[in-house]
Symmetry: C2
Subunit: 331 residues, 2 copies
DNA sequence: ACCCCTCTTGAAATCGATTACATAACTCCG
DNA sequence: CGGAGTTATGTAATCGATTTCAAGAGGGGT
């Protein structure tokens, strides 16, 4: 029992070599003579030495951590993306730090963007100020993006996905289609709305009835109330919601009031969160490859940290998932 | 433009003081003369100085990070707990790192338990080896726990919660009650099963029919299949499932086969994840205060890091949430 | 025998901030 | 006016690993 925690000099002393040699065994073993290496490794074992990351990081001018800035940590949509990121970062020797941009103040969130705190940043919140992020650590944007901020984006084609969804409804014969939008000002809201309008226009149909929303269950429920409040013959026969959570709230509300999905209204969601395939009826939706988004975002960030300057976007494919919540309108 | 990134000596030079004084302004301003302080603060502003955390951490022998070890990051159950932890840790100046114990190997996960990597550990996975965790950084266990491992636990009373659930079903007149258990070997599985059996026994009812499960949607669905496969007159009239996810899978499956909940079977879940209040029927369940669990766990860990040696458990109250999925059995 | 190379290794500087210790200036009071 | 006490600041050691530079040992060619 010498020190509380053995350091590199303790190992060096025991092995009868210098600290430099021990360090080389640790980080670049092949340049050390085999016999010496054996000695050092034995000394490491005997002392139970564990390297101090703060010291290494200081010397290397890196932190070994990557921060994910998430708009809302308690939203299950993001947890699977985080899982994807962790799966790539851990093997590469990076820690995944997470921060909730809503919980912490807009301003204080930028402390994560310092090189001495994290080696890189994955931003999943498009509402962060571009100027605060500029000229700091490498950044990758995932899912959402920040207009005017140049950084690789890993995302889906939201507009096209929305088109896909709406065209499915049109294909079923719906002519009166509503859209429940995301929160105002959000880039996803705009893209999905645009796709919706575009699809309707392309088929010569009137602009959609827009219900306000904010991606949450509660707002979907309110959209359901609003739909129910319309005179029966003015109700859209199909509703496309910008998130599955809202679709759940919507269906819950209309079912609660005696409506039957899809007989009385077809419902289409967005995201394909796991639960919706088990509801009754199972929800038709657009599948976002969440795990893959996380993995790709992490990989792009590692590339950037490694010096790759490419800032091209990575667009991942979505999938139209057809289940029981959509059908032809009642004649 | 002097260095790439200004350091403390640059500030000192500009302000005409020593680095010690700058450091004091940074960490202990009141011991510095007001005028000097002003000078230093001005110099900090001019240089755009930002402190290097790796250096400070090295000196302070701390890391500024806390790791949460989660069994499954993509499970929405945990995301809200993480949000609670983040809400406490961020203001205290700690980063929240997350790691998925399933994605990373059992062995490699212990690298997080080193003092040079994290100042503390919040473990949400009861299946980790106690010996690996011992004598490392301060640990707090949340939700699950590790038998024989002494550390503060922040949890609910699972046995009592299960009793509460089952007694509600008994109160409705159910006499034939089934339980869909969690994964074998899990501490929660055992506690909830024990509570179930205890409640039935206390009312002179036979032991429950046990369906195997593992907390996932898919396993709940399989339980539904198993329930349907029973002869109609042998089917339990009520099923208590050890997680809401399983309850969703179960309900989805039986509804899919024409059964009506709660007419044909009452269903009780566990957790009260947000979605289940919007299903049709809305799920009766046991509410775990997830955000509070996260907050408390983080707070207990901060206390421990601060030197508090108390290892008493924190038991948070659950709430029986009654919704539409439970009713009296059909006569 | 001599020079040049390669292979190993060690001494010491370095990463950037913190802090124990020393010192200088100034106040207060008998 | 001298000594104790207080306040403010600087000097230099320190946290623990990495890495540059230099040098010694050994091999091979001429």
């Amino acid at each position: 029992m010498q020190h509380q925690r053995p350091k590199i000099v303790d190992v060096a002393r025991l092995a009868g070599v210098s600290t430099a040699t021990v360090s080389r065994v640790l980080s670049n073993p092949q340049i050390v003579n085999a016999e010496t290496r054996r000695l050092v490794e034995e000394a490491i074992r005997q002392t139970g030495y564990r390297l101090n990351h703060a010291a290494r990081n200081l010397r290397h001018q890196r932190t070994g951590g990557v921060v994910a800035l998430v708009p809302n940590l308690s939203n299950p949509f993001f947890s699977q993306i985080l899982a994807g990121m962790a799966a790539v970062l851990a093997p590469a020797g990076y820690n995944l730090l997470v921060a909730d941009t809503r919980t912490e103040g807009r301003a204080s969130i930028l402390r994560y963007a310092e090189p001495s705190r994290a080696d890189g940043l994955i931003v999943l919140d498009g509402s962060l100020p571009a100027d605060g992020l500029a000229r700091r650590v490498p950044v990758v944007l995932a899912c959402e993006w920040i207009p005017g901020f140049a950084a690789p984006r890993v995302k889906i084609d939201n507009r096209q996905a929305a088109q896909l969804a709406v065209e499915h409804l049109i294909g079923h014969g719906h002519r009166h289609i509503a859209h429940v939008a995301g929160p105002p000002g959000n880039v996803l809201t705009d893209a999905r709305l645009a796709g919706t309008e575009q699809a309707l226009k392309a088929h010569g149909l009137p602009a959609p009835h827009i219900f306000p929303g904010d991606f949450t269950l509660a707002s979907g429920r309110r959209a359901g109330e609003a739909w129910l409040a319309l005179p029966a013959d003015e109700r859209p026969t199909a509703v496309f919601l910008a998130s599955d959570e809202m679709a759940c709230g919507f269906i819950g509300e209309v079912q609660h009031n005696g409506m039957v999905v899809p007989r009385d209204v077809s419902v289409m969601g967005f995201d394909d969160i796991e639960l919706v395939s088990h509801m009754t009826p199972a929800l038709s939706t657009i599948r976002q490859p969440r795990e893959a988004i996380g993995r790709q975002a992490a990989q792009r960030l590692l590339d950037r940290i490694g010096g790759d300057d490419g800032s091209a976007d990575t667009i991942l494919p979505v999938e139209l998932v057809l289940r029981g919540s959509t059908a032809a309108p009642r004649r």
